[in-house]
Each structure stands twice: as C-alpha cells, then as structure tokens.
Symmetry: C2
Subunit: 258 residues, 2 copies
Amino acid sequence: MQLGTIDRTSDRPPSKQIADDLRGLIQSSRLVAGEQLPSEAKLMDHYGVARMTARQALQELKSEGLVVSEHGRGVFVRRTVPVRRLASDRFARRYRDQGKAAFLAEAEKSGATPSVDSIQVTEDYPDVEVQQRLRVPEDEIVIVRSRRYLSDGIPVETAVSYIPGDIGKGTKIAEMDTGPGGIYARIEDAGHTLEHFTEEVTARMPTERERDQLQLGTSVPIMRVVRTAYDFQGRAVEVCDTIKAAPAFVLEYDFPAR
Amino acid sequence: MQLGTIDRTSDRPPSKQIADDLRGLIQSSRLVAGEQLPSEAKLMDHYGVARMTARQALQELKSEGLVVSEHGRGVFVRRTVPVRRLASDRFARRYRDQGKAAFLAEAEKSGATPSVDSIQVTEDYPDVEVQQRLRVPEDEIVIVRSRRYLSDGIPVETAVSYIPGDIGKGTKIAEMDTGPGGIYARIEDAGHTLEHFTEEVTARMPTERERDQLQLGTSVPIMRVVRTAYDFQGRAVEVCDTIKAAPAFVLEYDFPAR
C-alpha cells in the first residue's frame, strides 16, 4: 500500500487530507475489505503529524462507515460486499434439516467468515410490542434468546428471539445449544409445524447502544427486520427482532405476481 | 396549540429550548401529523427572539425528521404513521385489474391523502446496473418513467421504472398516461404475463439530490428498494428503482416456510 503526501500550504486540514488519501486507497481497491489500515503511529511517522491528527483522520473514515476498529487489533476496511439475504430461501426447511443457521450459510456464500458471539438465553415478561406480536398476555413468560453476528470478525447484526414459554420452557429452546436445525427445528419438534413468516423492514439511525454493539460510524444507519414465524394453526410461535448495520446487507425478497 | 416559554438564565441556547418546546408538543400529540407549525414570525413574536434563532429551532426539528417544510406553504409535522407496504399484496393482479396504483391504495389505507408529481417519461440508453438487471445490451433503448410520491403533500418516495424498448416503444408504456392498471397491465397486454417479482432492500444516507427531492433532514436515512418484474419466460420486463424516506415506510413481506 502506497501512502501519499499532504499539502501543508492547503486550506484543507491535514487530518482531512490524510482521510482523503486513505479513502482513495480504499475506493481504488488498493486497500481491500478486511485489510488493516496503517496504525496511528505509522500515520504520524509517514505524514509527519501529531497523534490527534492521525486519530481524526481514522475517525473521519469510521464515521463514513468505510472502516471499523476492532478493539486491541487495529482499524480495518469494512467489508464492502454486503451479505445477500434471500428471505424466502433462508428459512427453507432444507436448510433447517441440514442444521445450518441461515446467517452462517449466507455469509459463507458472500465469501466471509461468519461467527456468533454474546449469546444469552433468559426468561422474562414480554414488553408491549412482543406481547402484541406474539399475542401473549403480559404475565406470560417468554424465552429471550439474544446474540450478535459477525462477518470476518466485524459485528454486522444483533438479534433477539422471543418464544412463548408454553412452547419453549423445559426444552432445548431455553438452553444455550438448541441442537441441529436450531430453534425452528425445536419449535416444530414441539408440534408447531411452521407455515409462514412475515418480516417488517424499517431503517433509521442507531441508538447509542446499537452504535456501540455494531461499532458503527456516526453517520451509518441501521435496518431493523422484525420476523414473526407462524404455525399451521396461525399461531405466532416466534418473534425475531434484528438490528443490522445497513452497509453490510442487501435484503432480497421474491414473491409471485398472483 | 399552547407554546411554552424559554429560560433566559439557562445555559441551553434559546433555539434549542424552542426546539424542545415544539418537540414536546409533537411528542404529546398536541401538534399532530400534517399540522402546520407556527411561522418564524410567530415564533419570534411569542418567544421574543431573532429570526435566525427561530429558524435554527425549526432547522433542528427538520434535521431530526420530525417536521418538513413545504416550499411557500410553511413547516408541517411529518406523518408519524408510516405507509405499510405488503409486497406480496401490493402487486396482486386484483389491484392491477381495478386499475389502482399500489402506492395510492396503501397510502389511503394508512389514512393519508396520496399524490404523485414530477412525472417524466423519456427514452434512453441504460446504465450498467439497469443493463445487468434487465439483461439488455448497452445499445438497446429503454423507456424511463420517473415520478415522485407524496403523502398528505409531503414527498416520501421517488421511483424510476425502466422497461425494455422492444416491449414499451410505441405503446402506452411510453406515454404519460398508461391507462387502467398502469404499466404492469400494459406489459401483460404486450404478451408478457407477469410471473414473479424480486425486491432488493438496502438503506443508507441520502445523496444531496435525494435529500432535496424528499426534503429530508440531515440525519434521516433512505431505504432503496429495487424491484424487478419477470414474465413466465423468466425474462426481466421491468426494473423499478425507488428511494424512500425511511421514517415514512414499513416494508412488509411474507413468505412460506416451505
């Protein structure tokens, strides 16, 4: 990677010029997705600037969503190839039967190495929105499963699933390891054969907490996808509330022209 | 509507205090969606501030996406009830047969008065993305139909449709008024019975041009939905590229758990 120089006679602040230089390397693919950027020390040395200037340059690129910092490891070019996610395919029974989680299959297809962290399983009373979506009373316990998905080590999505207690309690749905096929297979084992899903997609700026969890720059929006799974009796058997880093996803849907 | 007062001894700038006051009226529904805010002159008079202060207060609410200004008419509370858009339903043949445009039907359902402006119909060579999506060569003319959708007079979406010239040229598809059922009915009249649609959803911050067209605040993201219509031969017969003000839409999809 060939860093350029800064023009000390220019009106443009050195930090912006360094950001311009690094941005150019990314946009021309001389610095590619997943690749590490020069450290602050390297930038200070190369451009002859103070640490604060080097830091501001990196901060600028972070706020644009071009790079992400990984704690203790450095700053990396954000994956520019988003995960393509075809809804009608990703929850197909054949994938569940293979026991392959949808996100992992998709991320692999896009050439990334997927991972999951921050898995938590708890039981709780549902908030008003979950009550309405699951159509359960406020005093009915629900199983709450939350996790974070990463692509090449970069957080791209958080997800929280809610399953009515009468379906999930005392089963693997309430355990960390849900076994082959995941919670959808276990919900079907419990006699609730899945019939269809609905998804609601919205987009907005992240909350502070979401920004932290997904390590987003200050001007990177999120997409929220709330999926509800229904069984053949028309009962809502799971709600999954996901927050996705917008640059990391293309959501694909297909539907008949009936 | 009862405006409050500002505290001149506070550290908080008067423009922020006025924005807080107006925001409170909106959040407590004392100022409701579609309702007009006090003019700059009214704010100056009521709070005893300069025009610039009043303007900054309104600008603050605009940047949050809570209000929109309509040129020459004033500043209005943005519709907080988004248009719900169920993809598999909105392009159903029964709606086309009634000759009802999907956006108009949905907006009516959400209680808003829909309208369309800036309609343009031209013929042009396709850019690379349209070539790939329609699978047409670069020297094949396409019909380009663009328009803007408004909900209660507030712009919420721009849309550009591309139809291959061999399907659209010399038909109503290339005219301003496409007749009952719109372009999908005309594409079917031309022998291309529609079989299915795909949609790709992404979200990002708007370009300057998109921000202008949709009158967005500086921190309001857009959703881009690119739909492709396929006929029974598997041919792509239309691509529709839409940019939506994110706060104005909930995109709904349903799909079987097959």
